[in-house]
């Protein structure tokens, strides 16, 4: 329904409703007011009627008050005035007084006179039996307690009720006791009632309380209301309203119901007024309503309808470029402006969406990944370009209907179903590996990830990505194969293959470490440094740092102590391991046991050294000596002096002995390094050497634990040379002490004497070849022998106090043998 019609309908309905409400309201209020007013008037009239009745009684009381307190009446009652009756109680008296009854009694209630008169027919009639004979002294009419008090009321006689009054008979001056009562009565018959009605209201009736014509409910209501203001008001019908009052007799019993009946003029007036008001309201409301509708239509509804039509047109056309036009400067025009702004925003958003959609579509088409969509049954609904090329899923095939199962191998279908079920129930797709059949028949291993597609709040299908990992799997397999191959190689090669991180912590070691007493687990996680011989650490680290800076492969030789302390020479060839960005992340290396080669090299080195030395000795020292020798010969030949000749011949002999000693040295030196170093018991060797000097008179003291040194087998010669040198050069020597000391670098074996010692400037020189009084080779040989296994020797005694030779044996070349 159109808004206009709706508005009109609503307005009309509202108008009607309002009018009805107002009408009802007004009618209720007004009519209620009028009813109340009517009741007031009726009550007033009822009251008036009751009062009129009382007035009649009052009038009768007045008459009785003339007759009661009267000496004549007293006399009559006392029997003293026999003419009283003839003088006063003639029938015309009743007529004049408008009474139907006069009764005179004495104090005992005996009726001394009673007369009844028919006012209509104007004749005397029999006195009602109620007033015959003797009245009960308890009769209210017999109340003589107060001569001023007149008893009034109604007596219910069999024919008609009677208005009665009773005045005590006393003297005219009210003195003396009451002598009786005078009772006057008037029938409340039709005539009387009619007369009363003329005085009050036309419709006045009296009904006996026990008259069956009276409704019991009415009687009940009248009795219930009898205590308050005079009676009840009851609407008899739309035209009449009645008022009811309860009249009691002289005994106080309910006797009569006084009813007045009136036309409902006030009420009718109220109805008329209400109708007029309603009509006025209706007319006014209608006019106002029509005006409002008209204005509403012109100002709002038509413009709103226009706006709605324009918006509808735009909605149907879908063209967000169009704008709505509403003139004016109010909320509707403001709404139009906002709608236009919204249309612009929608237009811009649409453009953005189109651009975004185009972007993502192009992206989807360009991606090497396969993107697809399918419905909940697995029927493909979209595949991007990559998917079309690899699997041949064309638009045509999609339209014809192609299920994804077509591209899966049998054993993957159940996997797919499980995966899709999980996604349907809200789980995230884990991206599982599937085997897919490509268009060219090849197998593709791929990771497929899916997600649920929701449209309008419900799941309509799945969207997925297919990542081809065939190549990756192939590479992994190749890598595994390669790894196994290299593992076989590494485990079968005698070299130790290792890798460390940039901090030098071993991250891998091949099982060959077992050969040296280490388990692979013992080695991994530890620094390579702790396995390197302490004496070689600096050299290795310096070399490493230097080569690392160049970024080249580096080669280093160093010693490693095995689990049992045996020294092995290793040649390390390492290269930097770089990450993808070229940053060094560690070192790969090979450790080749070159102990044997080193021994051979050392042997060759020593041999070369000895050859060079011998070369020196033979070429230089001996030739030097021969030069001198030949010179002495020439000089001896040239001189004529026998003394000079003898000196020269002595020189020649000495020079010849020198040549002999040189040759002897070469023999000794030849032995150095020929045999492999071995562990030798120092204590045993010393004891053996001491035996050579038993007759020297020197006291020997050696205090140290049993000790073994790894050295050239000529170690005994070292000890011999040291002791011999001490004796030869010590001059004042008496004691030679030999003791040991341990430091973090190794063991020191000290030969200390109490001889003259060695001058400061000679401490280094004594170890050079040719220095010394003898051959000059002793300490040179000593140092050479010790150097075979890296042991050093130096002299640091105090000149003139004694010589002190300290042999420093590095860790790994000494031990305390187990018993």
């Amino acid at each position: 329904m159109k808004l206009q019609k709706k508005s009109l309908l609503v307005f009309v309905v509202l108008l009607i409703a309002v009018l009805i409400v107002i009408s009802v309201f007004f009618s209720t209020i007004l009519l209620a007011s009028y009813s109340a007013l009517e009741e007031q008037y009726v009550a007033k009239d009822l009251n008036q009627a009751v009062n009129k009745l009382n007035d009649e009684l009052f009038t009768m009381s007045s008459i009785a008050s003339d007759w009661g307190p009267w000496d004549d009446t007293v006399d009559f009652v006392n029997g003293n005035d026999p003419n009283y009756l003839n003088s006063n109680l003639k029938p015309y008296g009743f007529d004049n007084l408008n009474l139907n009854l006069i009764v005179l009694t004495n104090t005992k209630g005996e009726v001394l006179f009673s007369g009844a008169y028919d006012l209509k027919n104007k004749v005397m009639v029999p006195v009602p039996a109620f007033f015959s004979g003797q009245l009960d002294p308890k009769n209210p009419l017999m109340n003589m307690s107060d001569p001023h008090q007149i008893t009034t009321g109604i007596v219910m006689l069999p024919d008609d009720p009677m208005l009665v009054v009773s005045q005590p008979i006393v003297h005219s001056d009210f003195s003396g006791p009451s002598q009786g009562v005078v009772i006057m009565g008037r029938y409340l018959n039709k005539e009387e009632i009619a007369r009363l009605a003329e005085l009050t209201r036309p419709n006045l009736t009296f009904t006996r309380i026990d008259d069956p014509a009276l409704s019991p409910n009415l009687v009940l209501r009248i009795r219930d209301n009898s205590g308050s203001a005079p009676g009840i008001i009851q609407q008899l019908n739309m035209d009449q309203v009645a008022g009811y009052a309860l009249i009691r007799d002289i005994y106080g019993n309910d006797a009569l119901v006084l009813q007045i009946t009136e036309t409902r003029d006030i009420y009718h007036q109220g109805i008329n007024t209400t109708v007029q008001v309603i009509l006025i309201i209706l007319a006014g409301g209608l006019f106002l309503g029509l005006l409002v509708i008209f204005l509403l239509d012109r100002v709002v509804l038509k413009r709103m309808a226009s706006l709605a039509l324009q918006v509808n047109t735009i909605g149907k056309s879908g063209s967000t470029r169009d704008h709505v036009v509403i003139e004016g400067d109010d909320e509707l025009s403001g709404l139009a402006t906002e709608i236009n702004r919204m249309l612009e925003t929608i237009e811009q958003t649409q453009q953005k969406v189109l651009v975004s959609e185009a972007r993502f579509r192009e992206l989807a088409e360009q991606l090497p990944l396969i993107i697809f969509e399918m419905d909940t049954n697995g029927n493909l609904t979209y595949v991007n370009k990559a998917g079309v090329e690899l699997f041949g899923v064309t638009e045509q095939k999609i339209l014809e209907g192609i299920n994804i199962r077509h591209y899966l191998y049998e054993d993957n279908i159940e996997q797919m179903q499980r995966g899709l079920s999980a996604v349907m129930s809200g789980a995230k797709s884990p991206g599982e590996i599937y085997s897919l059949k490509q268009l060219d028949g090849n197998l593709m291993r791929a990771i497929v990830s899916t997600s649920l597609v929701h449209r309008e709040g419900r799941a309509t299908g799945f969207r997925g990505i297919v990542l081809d990992i065939s190549e990756r799997i192939r590479l992994e397999e190749a890598l595994t194969e390669s790894e196994e191959k290299y593992r076989a190689i590494t485990e079968n090669t005698p070299d130790i293959l290792f890798s460390t991180d940039m901090a030098g912590i071993i991250t891998y070691a091949s099982p060959q470490v077992n050969k040296y007493g280490f388990l692979v687990e013992e080695v991994i996680g530890k620094s390579l440094r702790i396995f390197i011989h302490p004496a070689d650490i600096d050299q290795v680290e310096n070399n490493l740092s230097r080569e690392l800076e160049k970024g080249a492969q580096f080669i280093s030789q160093f010693r490693i102590l095995d689990k049992w302390g045996t020294t092995f020479w290793f040649e390390e060839k390492s290269s930097l391991r770089l990450d993808i960005s070229g940053k060094p992340v560690g070192i790969y290396g090979i450790l080749r046991d070159v102990t044997e080669r080193k021994r051979v090299e050392d042997a060759i080195d020593i041999a070369n050294k000895k050859l060079n030395l011998m070369n020196q000795i033979t070429r230089h020292d001996i030739l030097n000596t021969i030069t001198g020798l030949l010179g002495c010969v020439d000089m001896a030949k040239a001189t004529n002096s026998p003394e000079e000749q003898e000196q020269l011949f002595n020189d020649i002999r000495d020079l010849t002995r020198v040549i002999q000693r040189h040759i002897t040295f070469t023999k000794e030196y030849q032995e150095v390094g020929v045999h492999l170093p071995q562990w030798q018991n120092v204590n045993n060797l010393l004891n053996k050497v001491f035996q050579n000097f038993e007759k020297s008179g020197i006291k020997f003291s050696s205090e140290f634990e049993t000790l073994e040194i790894y050295a050239d087998p000529l170690l005994e010669k070292v000890f011999y040379n040291l002791i011999e040198n001490a004796i030869r050069y010590g001059e004042t020597i008496t004691t030679i002490s030999i003791y040991s000391g341990i430091s973090d670098k190794g063991l020191s074996l000290v030969f200390e004497d109490d001889g003259v010692g060695i001058e400061a400037g000679q401490k280094q020189e004594i170890f050079k070849r040719g220095v010394g009084k003898n051959t000059g080779m002793g300490l040179f040989l000593t140092a050479e022998i010790l150097a075979i296994t890296g042991i050093t020797i130096e002299e640091d005694g105090i000149f003139k106090k004694g010589a002190r030779f300290e042999i420093r044996i590095p860790n790994g070349t000494w031990r305390l043998p187990r018993d």
Binding site: N615, N624, T627, G628
Partner: protein, 125 residues
């Protein structure tokens, strides 16, 4: 003998016997031995003080610098011929010695003639 006119020769030799022999032979040949040094430092000092005409240098002298290094230094400062007297004939030593552009080599053991020829050749350069 006496073919030379008394050129001053500086001996650099640490072996006493050889130095005595050299001294005797040079004097026999008519040369004047203006001094004898046993190490490189002494040799430089005598070069300044004695101003020899030629130097006979033992390659294998003791001290901080050997005969070859001493010769290098002499050659830098003085324009004096230097003849090596050596028993070495190994290639490396000879190459080192050659780099100093000596004025001759005398191989031990040597006689008067060896000395004379080498000195004369050196002086004529």
């Amino acid at each position: 003998m006496g073919l030379v006119s008394g050129e001053k020769i500086l001996l650099v030799e640490d072996d006493d016997i050889i130095a005595r022999v050299e001294d005797w032979r040079l004097k026999n040949l008519g040369y004047t031995v203006c001094g004898r040094a046993t190490n490189g430092a002494e040799a430089m000092e005598l070069m300044v003080n004695k101003k020899p005409d030629i130097v006979l240098m033992d390659i294998n002298i003791k001290g901080e610098i050997d005969g070859i290094e001493t010769t290098k230094r002499i050659k830098k400062i003085f324009n004096v011929p230097v003849i090596y007297v050596t028993s070495h004939s190994d290639g490396a030593t000879l190459e080192r010695a050659k780099e100093t552009k000596p004025d001759g080599f005398i191989i031990k053991p040597f006689d008067d003639n060896d000395l004379r020829v080498a000195i004369e050749l050196a002086l004529r350069k």
